[in-house]
């Protein structure tokens, strides 16, 4: 069932892309369309892609333009309901039982004994929030199945308290680095988009948008270089964030008087963060720096 535009004037993917740009996020057609559909259809947005292409940033930018609080649930192997939903404050409950006078029964299931975790926090906020479920591929299948239940009606049952339901439907963004295939049932419930690395022009624009100190020529040179690096068999190919870091680092070094080739070379650690990758690139580094500094 379609819902009304969450903010006035958000009537098309282009309008959403424009609003995201104002929040310093450059979305291509695909991302803008998927995010727009997710907002309008009230479905979770599932973003997949290599690390560093801007999946998490997309959620942050969405929360910014919607003016909603971002609540983040970082997934890890072995994450369970107590880490995602809630936990009782057992020591305080124990104390309350001990302190209750004889014949009285202590109410140990009050709100102040409840420690809320991200998913409960989402349901209890009076205003709708943006829930970011980050790196869902790191969690195991049981947790994925548990999420399905939560995402279908945004309610949870606490045995001692009954069922809690969200007053307003939260916007949910899930991200995955594709370290494993997600269950079909989860993909089916979401609006899906695979974020590829941006094209060179867009990546240069992203670098300049994120860092106003970087000159256009530097941004282009860095984009050219990371493009070459992504073709190499590296353990950690540089993402967009690394490209921004490299451009900023090289700019900072050049301000201290270092010539450009030297600035690029000395700041390569901002792009390549693995000794094996550096070792692999070392023989090719001169050619790479030469190509981009010219």
């Amino acid at each position: 069932m379609a819902i009304a535009a969450p903010i006035p004037g958000l009537t098309s993917p282009e309008a959403l892309a424009e609003a995201l740009r104002a929040a310093y996020y450059l979305a291509d057609d695909g991302v803008a369309t998927a995010a727009y559909l997710a907002l309008m259809l009230g479905k979770p947005l599932l973003l997949e892609g290599a690390p560093g292409v801007g999946k998490t940033e997309a959620a942050k930018a969405l929360s910014g333009i919607l003016g909603r609080q971002l609540i983040r649930l970082q997934c890890f192997e072995g994450i369970d309901a107590s880490a995602a939903l809630y936990e009782w404050n057992y020591p305080r409950q124990m104390l309350a039982i001990r302190q209750a006078r004889e014949g009285e029964s202590a109410d140990i299931y009050r709100d102040d004994f409840l420690i809320e975790r991200p998913m409960l926090a989402v349901l209890r906020r009076p205003r709708a929030t943006v829930l970011l479920i980050d790196e869902i591929d790191r969690s195991d299948h049981e947790f994925e199945a548990f999420l399905l239940e939560f995402l279908s009606d945004f309610s949870i049952s606490i045995p001692e308290r009954g069922t809690l339901r969200a007053a307003e439907r939260p916007v949910v963004v899930l991200t995955s680095n594709r370290t494993r295939d997600l269950h079909e049932a989860l993909r089916r419930r979401c609006i899906y988009h695979y974020i590829a690395y941006p094209d060179p022009a867009r990546e240069a624009a992203i670098i300049m948008l994120r860092s106003s100190a970087v000159a256009e020529a530097t941004a282009r040179a860095v984009v050219h270089a990371v493009g070459i690096l992504r073709q190499e068999p590296l353990t950690k190919p540089p993402g967009v964030a690394e490209a921004v870091d490299w451009a900023e680092a090289a700019t900072a070094l050049s301000r201290t008087g270092a010539p450009w080739p030297d600035a690029f070379r000395r700041s390569i650690g901002a792009a390549l963060k693995d000794e094996e990758d550096l070792a692999h690139m070392r023989p090719r580094l001169d050619a790479l720096i030469g190509a981009i500094a010219s």
Binding site: I97, A106, T235
Partner: protein, 371 residues
């Protein structure tokens, strides 16, 4: 229900049906979402409709090319063959073959690719796998394997009789029954998880006599180990885990035989391992895993590539076991440059000459005794 839809929306409803006929799983709720999405977007152009289809019908990234071809067929009336250049590249554009994909691209295209050498190296073949007569051994392996794998500490807790960790939730529940008096402190400890297994199977010509049986063994592994990944290599690298997840062994092996295109060809272990490591998604399978390589180690490519790749693999894996048919001979010594150099990286260089020998090794991985 379809009869009540406006005529203009009928092609939209028919598209998911076409997808289903071509092997895509599309749920009715996705069809509804697709219709809603098209209505929301306008649609102003066919590209908007394509984006709506991608977002709501959610094809796997490796199915994008086929999905787009069907979209063109349905809405534009022209069937464009999936173009290799447009096809999705797994993660970081490494050229390898993954099950379910249509691409067949050679690994390490620039290495050892001259003249006759290349032709010899790339002798492609498709072959019918024989399930073999190791049924009893495999059945025993399936029974013993789940408890025989090395384990590591997990992040979840489980009840324990003793230990330092106190289970406050259970202790509290017990205390409520005794009016807040803590009679016994319940304990808990970290649950352990079986380490994942990564099996790399050499399907080159020199391993011809073992390939069928090794694939059957890998099927048992995928069926019984909690987490297992299987790749084959020769002149290409192929991920076969997904087809081996089919329960029926004969069916799974038949599918695997169609998937692997480099049966009985040359061996380029170094290139295969580097292609494996170049895709972060695949390289992640090796992290903390028990890596089992079933190969005779007769590398035809450059040994330095193999040594470098094995170093990187060893840095990620929990242990690497190399099971070679040659090691059945008690006098076997790894004397080729590559094998001699990687010997210190291996936890075991063992006997891989028969299914029974490999199975015996697998069930003793955690230090237990062979059944």
């Amino acid at each position: 229900m379809t009869a009540r839809l406006p005529a203009a929306s009928r092609p939209l409803v028919a598209f998911p049906t076409l997808l289903r006929q071509n092997g895509f799983a599309v749920a009715p709720e996705q069809t509804i979402a697709f219709l809603e999405a098209v209505r929301l977007l306008g649609p102003r152009s066919i590209e908007h409709m394509r984006q709506a289809a991608h977002a709501t019908l959610a094809p796997h990234p490796h199915q994008f090319a086929r999905f787009d071809a069907l979209f063109d067929l349905h809405f534009l009336g022209g069937y464009g063959e999936p173009d290799e250049a447009d096809d999705w590249q797994p993660d970081e554009e490494t050229q390898i073959q993954e099950d379910g994909g249509e691409r067949e691209i050679l690994i390490g295209e620039t290495v050892n690719e001259t003249g006759r050498e290349a032709i010899e190296a790339e002798a492609l073949a498709v072959r019918q796998l024989r399930p073999g007569d190791d049924g009893a051994v495999l059945a025993r392996l399936a029974r013993d394997l789940p408890t025989a794998l090395p384990r590591r500490r997990g992040y979840r807790f489980r009840m324990a009789r003793r230990g330092r960790g106190i289970d406050l939730a259970r202790s509290l529940k017990a205390a409520i029954r005794t009016d807040g008096e803590v009679m016994t402190l319940k304990r808990r400890r970290r649950a352990t998880r079986a380490r994942p297994v990564l099996m790399l199977i050499d399907v080159s010509g020199s391993m011809k006599s073992r390939s069928d049986a090794n694939l059957a063994l890998a099927h048992t592994l995928v069926q019984s180990a909690p987490r297992a990944e299987v790749f084959t290599f020769g002149t290409r690298l192929t991920r076969v885990t997904r087809v081996l997840k089919l329960k029926n062994r004969a069916q799974a092996l038949a599918l695997a035989s169609g998937l692997v295109a480099d049966w009985d060809g040359g061996t380029r272990i170094g290139d295969a391992l580097q292609a494996f490591l170049a895709v972060p998604r695949f390289a992640g399978y090796a992290r903390g895993a028990v890596v089992v390589v079933l190969s005779d180690g007769l590398e035809r490519g450059d040994p330095t590539a193999m040594i470098a790749a094995m170093r990187r693999l060893a840095a990620r894996a929990f242990r690497i076991d190399w099971l070679s048919p040659l090691a059945a001979d008690p006098d076997y010594r790894p004397e080729t440059d590559a094998m001699a150099a990687i010997r210190p990286l291996l936890a075991t260089l063992g006997n891989g000459a028969s299914t029974a020998a490999v199975a015996r090794h697998l069930v003793t991985l955690a230090g237990g005794r062979a059944a």
